[in-house]
Structure formats: structure tokens, C-alpha cells
């Protein structure tokens, strides 16, 4: 699968591979109204990672449904629409507008964007609020719901459990890790808003650890964070993730994600496994 915000709406990658062959295309977060996003600079490269504060720039639900969705669906992609809002009602309203009839396979609920003033990360930090959010979305749509969680919490387990109990079919672990970088000569932050979301291989061990913890709950986990090669994708499967998302690495090599399924098949064969299911969660203790 593709990680939200790193693959556009899928159309942009059609020159690099067959998007219908991917597990799923997860869209950039869609909000009810269009959002222009934050003031630049919005991105800054850090050791093996990058900070971003995009601010959920997107064309809004209506434009997405009318102009973009039909194009991606006709390209044959399995579509997961990532949604974001400022209140459970708003999330519910968006979810109500999206259904299987539109060619959508599932919704991913962004409960952890660190780069907006309202909504975003607040829902993903409190199990009660997260449960209300997931329940509101589930009540508005028949589609399977994946709750995308923020790692900016002391313990992810209560949040995974809350999302599962409220009706989420799976959780995505994880969104970006809150970070900051500053210019010591100009004495200003490298990102206009100061704090920003860290992604890329730099966060991978944190993401693997959190996916491991989340998988222990029994709620199906989608692993994300720093995948940049076959080995890093397999790490998430080994600790129990049922699927993985590639994010920042799509920027470095937009063709990588199209090679990944083949690489995984070859790897499983070498490992003497007939299917991925048998490999998932097969971690032995040290």
C-alpha cells in the first residue's frame, strides 16, 4: 500500500508503474473543504529522514469525488481514501459521502496529523476521543475503516484497543513522529511552523516497535514508517503487521513500490514460505 500524502492520488505515479497491481493506493488526506496548506518552508531533509509541515493541502471532498476519484478507479487501483477533519461530525460527514459504489475499498481515518491547529493529533492521543471518532465514521459508512494512529503518545496499546473496540477493521501504525530542526546561524526553525512531522528511515525502528506492540492486541495492523527496501518491509510483517505502507521512499524512488510485491515473493520463496500469512508475526524471541 502507499502511505497517505506521499503518493498523491495515484495518478501521478502511473508513469512509474501499474497502480492496479499495488495492494492499495491510499490518497492524500481529504478534508470537507479545500485546504491551501501551510506557509513555506514546509519540508526539510534531516539525517535519513525529512520533516514536513504541509498542513493537509488538498482540493477538498467535492473536487476529489468528481474530478479525481473516477480517474483513479478507472485505472483499476484498489482505493483507500484517507480522510481528515476537525470534529467527529466532520469526519462522519466526509465518510457519508464516500461509498463502495464509488469504487472505494476502505477509508483510512487520519487521527494523527501533527501539522494542523485543530483536529489532527488531538483525536489520536486520547482513547476515548479516538473511539468517538472511529464510531462516528463507522456509523456513516459501510466501508471498512482503518484508523491511522500517531506515534506521539506514551503508549499506543490503549489507542489500538480503543479503535478496534469502536469498530475499526485495522489500525495503521504509524503517522509521522513530531520533530524539529533549527538553523543555528539564522536562529530560525527550518520549517515555518517550527514543529513538524519526521518520516523516512530515521523513524523506522520506532515504527517497527510500535507495530509490534500494536499487533499484540490482535487488532490487524498496517505497518508504516521508514520502509525503503525489502528488508525494512519484511521487518513490519515479521513483528505482526498484515500489510505495509511505503511513504517517504516514494519520493526518492517512485518506481520502488511497484517492485516491492515481486521482491517479497522472491524473499518468501528463499525463506521456504508458501505464503505471506505464514511469515507474518513469526518472530522468534532473541
Amino acid at each position: 500500500m502507499t502511505a497517505s500524502g506521499t503518493f498523491g492520488f495515484g495518478i501521478e505515479f502511473m508513469e512509474y508503474g501499474d497502480i492496479s497491481a499495488l495492494g492499495a493506493v491510499v490518497t492524500k488526506s481529504i478534508t470537507l473543504e479545500p485546504r491551501a496548506g501551510n506557509e513555506p518552508p514546509r519540508i526539510y531533509e534531516t539525517p535519513s529522514g525529512m520533516l514536513n509541515s504541509i498542513g493537509l493541502e488538498n482540493p477538498g471532498l467535492e473536487f476529489f469525488k468528481e474530478k479525481i476519484l473516477p480517474q483513479v478507479v478507472s485505472a483499476g487501483a484498489t482505493m483507500v481514501v484517507n480522510i481528515a477533519g476537525e470534529s467527529p461530525d466532520e469526519y462522519g460527514e466526509i465518510a457519508g459521502e464516500l461509498s463502495a459504489d464509488d469504487g472505494i475499498a476502505a477509508l483510512e481515518v487520519n487521527a494523527g496529523c501533527p501539522n494542523v491547529d485543530r483536529g489532527g493529533m488531538t483525536f489520536g492521543r486520547d482513547p476515548g476521543m479516538l473511539a468517538d471518532l472511529v464510531a462516528a465514521v463507522c456509523a456513516s459508512t459501510e466501508l471498512p475503516i482503518i484508523a491511522k494512529l500517531t506515534p506521539n503518545v506514551a503508549d499506543i496499546v490503549p489507542l489500538v484497543e480503543a479503535a478496534g473496540r469502536a469498530g475499526a477493521s485495522a489500525v495503521t501504525v504509524m503517522n509521522t513522529l513530531l520533530g524539529m530542526s533549527v538553523d543555528v546561524r539564522k536562529r530560525v526553525p527550518h520549517i515555518k511552523r517550527g514543529k513538524a512531522g519526521l518520516s523516512g528511515p530515521a523513524i523506522r525502528p520506532v515504527a517497527v516497535r510500535m507495530a509490534f506492540e500494536a499487533a499484540q492486541t490482535g487488532v490487524p495492523v498496517v505497518g508504516a514508517g521508514g520502509i525503503s527496501d525489502l528488508d525494512s518491509a519484511m521487518q513490519f510483517f515479521l513483528v505482526g503487521a498484515r500489510a505495509v505502507e511505503v511513504g517517504t521512499w516514494n519520493f526518492a524512488d517512485p518506481a520502488f513500490i511497484f517492485r516491492l510485491p515481486g521482491l517479497i515473493s522472491d524473499f518468501l520463496e528463499q525463506q521456504g514460505e508458501t505464503n505471506l500469512g505464514a511469515y507474518i508475526g513469526s518472530l522468534k524471541s532473541g
Binding site: T6, E12, A36, G37, P41, R42, I43, N250, F251
Partner: protein, 278 residues
């Protein structure tokens, strides 16, 4: 089996040449980039074998191409780690190339064009000059630099009355900025020719702001090539957006992505007051 796409793939370095103390030219084999690029477009380049630090590709404008050799060239000034690694590449090494990307200059409507540039952003102007000349256009090139000798390729353009170098110290060439040089040496001449004329600029934002305010009254077409920090280069990360005066034709926002809506823009689209200088 796990083939790369034509647009993003490993490519062989043919040559790396130090043209001046500050400028390197790298020639890279790529049938796709060589065949498909137009002046103003860029590629994202990363070292291979793949490393995670530096993580992202570095955007560099196409300097020129040799279609017979299926190769293209880049002109760059080592600025930080990514470009330094590129300067140390040797023939036979491979690099990862994604491109060509973005929009290019459109000179089809003009008989005569003036190119104004400075700093590290001048590569696309050389490509533009070459292609426009091949198309039979009259091309004026005005480049600003600390000294004329610090510019690459001055040899291949001079002696040509249509090439001007503007320097801070006036040791050779015009004493002043590239924008001043354009107004003193070229503007009157092209105005008196009464032919369709287009201006094309690439370089530091303050230079372009000066050019925009100086040409606003003239009612002359100006296309600019802009730079921004980039992550994806293909319009998906939304990291490179800049303020615009007119709504985006698709999305309606008062912004543009430098990588996908640009890097070449009609100057009237950009909100120059809100555009940061760096």
C-alpha cells in the same frame, strides 16, 4: 524482472568535468531524458547504490543533451552533501535519475528572445539558448557573475555581440547587475526591431523580482524558472509550493507547486511580494 520505469531508473555517468572552480558538468547516459527533455525541465538525481542519507533526490536543471549519444548534461555548483557526492562521481558510476520533470520554457511565439540569468540557476538558459538558436531564433544572453571568467562556457558564446556578461566589479563586461545590463545593452535594440520578443529568466529571486518590477510597464512576456526545496519533484508531497496571484487552474488555490506547475512560470502568475527571497 523487477525493471525500473523509463522515467525513474539507474543511469550511467559518462563524464564529470570541472569547468570552473565552482562549476561541474556531469554527462549521464539516458535515452529517455535525452529524447524527452525540453529547456527548463529538471531531473531528480541520487547516488547509487541507494543510500538513505542523503535521502532525497536533488533537483538539477537539464543543461543540454546529445541525442546521438543518448545522453544529457547537468551543470551544478557543489552546495552541500548531495551535490558534492555528484561532483565526486566518476565515469562508469551509476546514479538514480527521475525525469525529465516539470514544465519548460515556451519560445515558439517569439522571433527574438532575451535570456537573463545569474548564480547557479543558469543551466536551463544555456539549454534554451541552444534549442532556440537551432530553431532559428535570435537569442540574446545576459548573465550576471562576480567576474566574467567565473562563468562556464563563455568561450562558446563569445565573441558574439548577443552575449553579455555583467559583473559586480566591472573588470570585464558590463559593470552592474544582469538586469541593468539587459536594459542598457539589449532592451532598446529588441524594442526597435518590432518583432515578437520574449524574456526568459533564471537565477536568484531578488534578481527576478528586480526584473519583474522593471519590465511590468513594458507589457512584455516574461517566463521565469524558479527553485524551491523539493522532496518528490512530481507534485505529490506539496513541499515546494509558492504563493500565486491567480487561482490554480485545477484546484483553485492561490499556490503553485514549483516542481509540477513549474519550474517555469509566466511571471504574472507568481505573487512576488509573498515569495520568499531564498
Amino acid at each position: 524482472m523487477h525493471a525500473d520505469s523509463a522515467k525513474a531508473s539507474a543511469a550511467r555517468v559518462l563524464d564529470v568535468i570541472r569547468l570552473t572552480p565552482a562549476h561541474f558538468r556531469i554527462d549521464i547516459e539516458s535515452e529517455h531524458v535525452s529524447a524527452a527533455s525540453i529547456p527548463g525541465q529538471f531531473v531528480m538525481v541520487r547516488p547509487l547504490p541507494a543510500v538513505t542519507d542523503p535521502l532525497l533526490g536533488r533537483p538539477l536543471a537539464v543543461l543540454g543533451r546529445d541525442t546521438a549519444a543518448s545522453s544529457f548534461s547537468l551543470l551544478f555548483t557543489p552546495a552541500g552533501r548531495g551535490t558534492r557526492i555528484l561532483a565526486e562521481a566518476a565515469p562508469g558510476d551509476t546514479v538514480h535519475v527521475n525525469g525529465p520533470l516539470g514544465t519548460g520554457f515556451d519560445f515558439s511565439a517569439f522571433d527574438e528572445i532575451a535570456l537573463i540569468g545569474g548564480g547557479t540557476g543558469i543551466a536551463p538558459l544555456y539549454f534554451l539558448a541552444a534549442e532556440a538558436r537551432a530553431a532559428g531564433k535570435t537569442v540574446h544572453l545576459v548573465l550576471g557573475a562576480r567576474t566574467c571568467d567565473s562563468l562556464p562556457f563563455t568561450g562558446s558564446f563569445s565573441p558574439d555581440e548577443r552575449f553579455h556578461c555583467a559583473t559586480d566589479d566591472g573588470s570585464r563586461g558590463f559593470h552592474g547587475s544582469a538586469v541593468d545590463a539587459f536594459f542598457h545593452l539589449v532592451a532598446d535594440r529588441i524594442a526597435s526591431n518590432r518583432r515578437p520578443v520574449g524574456l526568459f529568466a533564471a537565477g536568484p529571486v531578488p534578481m527576478m523580482k528586480a526584473l519583474v518590477s522593471a519590465t511590468r510597464e513594458m507589457g512584455i512576456s516574461l517566463q521565469v524558472s524558479l527553485e524551491a526545496r523539493m522532496a518528490c519533484g512530481i507534485g505529490v508531497c506539496r513541499g515546494c509550493v509558492i504563493p500565486a496571484r491567480t487561482p490554480h487552474p485545477l484546484y483553485g488555490h492561490l499556490t503553485r507547486a514549483v516542481c509540477a506547475d513549474g519550474p517555469v512560470f509566466d511571471a504574472s502568475v507568481i505573487d512576488w511580494e509573498r515569495l520568499p527571497d531564498v
